[in-house]
């Protein structure tokens, strides 16, 4: 409750018109980042506690990757072998959405809760994103699969030999002639 109350307080601060529109001074923006980050971490703890009860993973870590916006996740950067992705659907109906998980360029198999193989593929992260300063360079690809989630669903990712997987992507067009090769 303490963590949730703090998140509520910070969300209250974020209703200020400067926070909404971005017309705050830089040091205020930096402070908004700081407190919002703290509040989100507390929210993740609460969500983890709930998911440990609601899923069949009573010891699950339920880590949230806050750098997915730059296709980076500390949890998968050293390999996405035997990783469970638990998805929470905030919509009031079942939804099918594509999930992207930063991974190394290896072969993976994704299975759903019933052990059925789910089609997946590995696509490269754009070179311009890889070049971002402060970004860890170990994950240069993203594993993509289509998830169907009612409220909560889990998908299991396992590293496999190339023969077992067909998640490669065909490059059908190279950069134009005389263009700098960036892939």
């Amino acid at each position: 409750k303490e963590d949730l109350e703090y998140l509520r307080e910070i969300m209250g601060v974020m209703q200020h018109h400067d926070a909404i529109t971005g017309t705050e001074k830089q040091h205020v923006s930096d402070d908004y980042d700081r407190i919002l980050y703290d509040a989100i971490l507390g929210g993740v703890k609460t969500a983890g506690a709930a998911l440990r009860k609601l899923t069949n993973l009573p010891n699950g870590e339920f880590e949230s990757c806050l750098r997915l916006n730059i296709s980076e996740c500390a949890f998968t950067k050293d390999g996405a072998d035997n990783v469970v992705v638990t998805l929470y659907n905030p919509l009031a109906h079942t939804t099918k959405q594509y999930v992207r998980v930063p991974v190394r360029n290896e072969n993976y198999q994704v299975t759903d809760e019933k052990g059925r193989v789910v089609a997946s593929e590995v696509v490269p992260v754009p070179a311009e994103v890889l070049a971002l300063e402060f970004r860890d360079s170990s994950t240069q690809h993203e594993l993509v699969f289509k998830a169907s989630v009612d409220k909560i669903g889990s998908y299991y990712i396992k590293k496999v030999d190339g023969k077992e997987s067909s998640n490669g992507v065909r490059i059908i067009s190279q950069p134009k002639q005389n263009a700098e090769t960036y892939d």
């Binding site: 909404i20 529109t21 971005g22 017309t23 705050e24 001074k25 830089q26 923006s29 993740v44 998911l51 069949n56 993973l57 010891n59 699950g60 870590e61 339920f62 880590e63 949230s64 997915l68 996740c73 949890f75 035997n82 990783v83 469970v84 992705v85 998805l87 659907n89 905030p90 919509l91 939804t95 959405q97 594509y98 998980v101 299975t111 019933k114 052990g115 089609a119 593929e121 696509v123 070179a127 311009e128 994103v129 971002l132 300063e133 993509v144 699969f145 289509k146 299991y156 396992k158 992507v169 065909r170 490059i171 059908i172 067009s173 950069p175 134009k176 263009a179 700098e180 960036y182 892939d183």
Partner: protein, 274 residues
């Protein structure tokens, strides 16, 4: 050899190999020539509160020589395009999804000593919109806008003809004629307009050098760790027949603003659940 075609069962995209730009979109039974590129406004008096173009002739749009690579998977097809040292994007279509996704990456924007730069993306179609376009009212209903017009008075737009037509876009901007409708959904509040018939523009990122004197007291030049800000975001494009409902836009908007939340754990037991 003049075109590259990328398609799923619902959407077909055609790229011009010479320019490297998107040139046609086919979806929902409608085909339309849509060219998409980026433009730059060079601004002097722009600040956190206003967008004010310095010289109306300054707008530069990248129309040629865009490098691109296509990644063709069974689930997703991606076109990675590089427009300049600080503008790139991925055009993405996914199997069974009735929208085209544009994931843009802009920054760090270069600036001059006295001039800032504001980056927009421009979608140009042949839809005869006749100066009329629609923008959302704080994410809810759409409001009709008409270029160079106001509902209750005659505006004086000679000094700032572009920014005088800019409106806040918090969820979508659209235009249509009697046959086709083009809508763009965004993931954050931006400014946008339709300066020509069939054309939609959205301002994605700004880096300015002067304060506009309206209160904040700092130039809009956001930095982190001493580096100018790089922004990454998404737009969804939906093209359909004008007489169809806008339900596709509303469905896509839900996925945009309420995506699945992801949590990661190690699988210490069996790979399948009970």
């Amino acid at each position: 050899d003049e075109e590259t075609v990328v398609q799923t069962s619902l959407i077909k995209l055609v790229l011009d190999n010479k320019t490297g730009l998107l040139k046609r979109v086919e979806m929902n039974g409608v085909s339309e020539n849509i060219e998409q590129s980026y433009g730059l406004y060079r601004t002097y008096d722009s600040g956190a509160y206003v967008f004010r173009q310095y010289n109306q002739g300054d707008f530069v749009i990248q129309k040629d020589g865009v490098e691109f690579t296509v990644y063709d998977g069974a689930l997703v097809k991606e076109v990675h395009q590089r427009f300049s040292d600080y503008i790139s994007q991925v055009i993405r279509i996914s199997e069974d999804k009735p929208y085209v996704e544009f994931e843009w990456l802009v920054g760090p924007i270069p600036v001059e000593e006295d001039f800032g730069t504001e980056v927009v993306t421009v979608f140009s179609s042949e839809i005869a919109s006749d100066g009329v376009f629609y923008t959302d009212s704080n994410g809810r209903e759409l409001i009709r806008r008409e270029k160079d017009k106001r509902e209750d008075f005659s505006p004086e737009l000679a000094v700032q003809p572009t920014s005088g037509n800019y409106y806040p876009i918090t969820s979508r901007i659209a235009l249509q004629d009697s046959k086709k409708r083009l809508a763009l959904l965004n993931d954050r509040a931006q400014g946008g307009s339709s300066m020509k018939d069939g054309q939609i523009e959205l301002m994605l990122h700004r880096r300015l050098v002067r304060d506009d004197g309206y209160g904040v007291g700092e130039a809009l030049n956001e930095q982190k760790y001493g580096q100018p800000m790089i922004a990454r975001g998404k737009l969804f494009l939906i093209l359909n027949a004008a007489d169809e409902s806008t339900s596709a836009e509303r469905e896509a908007e839900k996925e945009f603003h309420l995506p699945l939340w992801k949590f990661f754990s190690r699988n210490t037991g069996s790979t399948t659940a009970a």
